[in-house]
């Protein structure tokens, strides 16, 4: 009988282990990039040191990632071409009106002629607020 009690006392401290694991899970859930939709992580942004940091992502923001091969991405399900981009942006403008701000996220190796195409498409959709984005190094 006494032997059984001793075994129980010497068991691994499961409850504290679970506490730690749950804390870790909460950390990863909190830091998971749920708001990264449209911010394609395959883009190698050029590095900037003094440009203004993007602090919060407002509803009206419309990120357009321009990948190295010239494809444009606005998030999962994006068609990758300018016609698809225009359709999606028109929809966004219909939802948010004047609040829409386009953030162009170009790969550093993309030629500016591609950016010209994207900017023309954005202009045709009636959006005047255009930002060019870069990776911030502090």
């Amino acid at each position: 009988m006494a032997n059984s009690k001793d075994e129980k006392a010497e068991g691994a401290p499961i409850s504290s282990l679970i506490d730690v694991v749950f804390l870790l899970i909460m950390f990863f859930v909190a830091t998971a990039q749920m708001d990264q939709e449209g911010f394609d992580q395959n883009v190698q942004l050029a590095i900037a040191y003094d440009m203004e940091k993007i602090k919060n992502r407002a509803n009206g923001q419309f990120p357009i990632s321009v990948l190295k091969e010239g494809r444009v991405s606005t998030g999962p399900g994006s068609t990758g071409d300018i016609a698809g981009l225009k359709r999606e942006l028109m929809q966004h403008v219909a939802n948010y009106g004047d609040e829409v701000t386009v953030i162009i996220r170009p790969d550093k190796e993309v030629e500016l002629s591609v950016i010209e195409e994207v900017m023309s498409a954005v202009g045709e959709c009636g959006v005047a607020k255009i930002n060019i984005s870069a990776k911030l190094e502090e």
């Binding site: 679970i18 694991v21 998971a32 900037a48 440009m51 170009p106 900017m119 984005s133 870069a134 911030l136």
Partner: protein, 140 residues
């Protein structure tokens, strides 16, 4: 005695299945560790597209500073710069001289130039406080 044994058995059955919960928890933990990506801090600079039919000119004419971005160099007010550092020094000097004045930067971009060259220039403009009004157009 039989009642006591039955009660004990019910208590044992009501225990939370800890081992299964730990398995699930570890799976969740593994998933989040595997899918964790580096948080990229992004910065931006605002710019205006040159309108095809601009409105009437403003009463007070701002100082317009013309910069062309080519594949291999930058041309500022007709002066060519191969290196970004020398352009940076030139723009720093210009910013000092025109401190407080309303400056409009007219950027003209060559289609073959890479985006990195544009971002390097925008970064210098931001550093020198010249990023307030940037117009952008593309060279044909």
């Amino acid at each position: 005695m039989a009642k006591k044994r039955k009660k004990k058995r019910i208590e044992e059955e009501a225990e939370v299945p800890l081992s299964a919960m730990i398995d699930v928890t570890f799976l969740l933990l593994t998933y989040f560790i595997m899918t964790q990506t580096e948080v990229i801090e992004e910065a931006y600079i605002a710019m205006n597209m040159v309108a095809p039919n601009p409105g009437p000119p403003p009463e007070v004419k701002p100082t317009i500073f013309d910069i062309k971005v080519f594949e291999n160099d930058y041309v500022v007010q007709g002066r060519a710069f191969k290196e970004i550092d020398s352009l940076g020094a030139y723009l720093a000097n210009f910013a000092r001289e025109t401190q407080g004045a309303e400056i409009t930067i007219d950027l003209k971009l060559q289609g073959r130039a890479k985006t990195k060259r544009l971002v390097d220039l925008l970064d210098i403009l931001a550093k020198e406080g010249l990023e307030k009004k940037i117009n952008i157009a593309f060279l044909q």
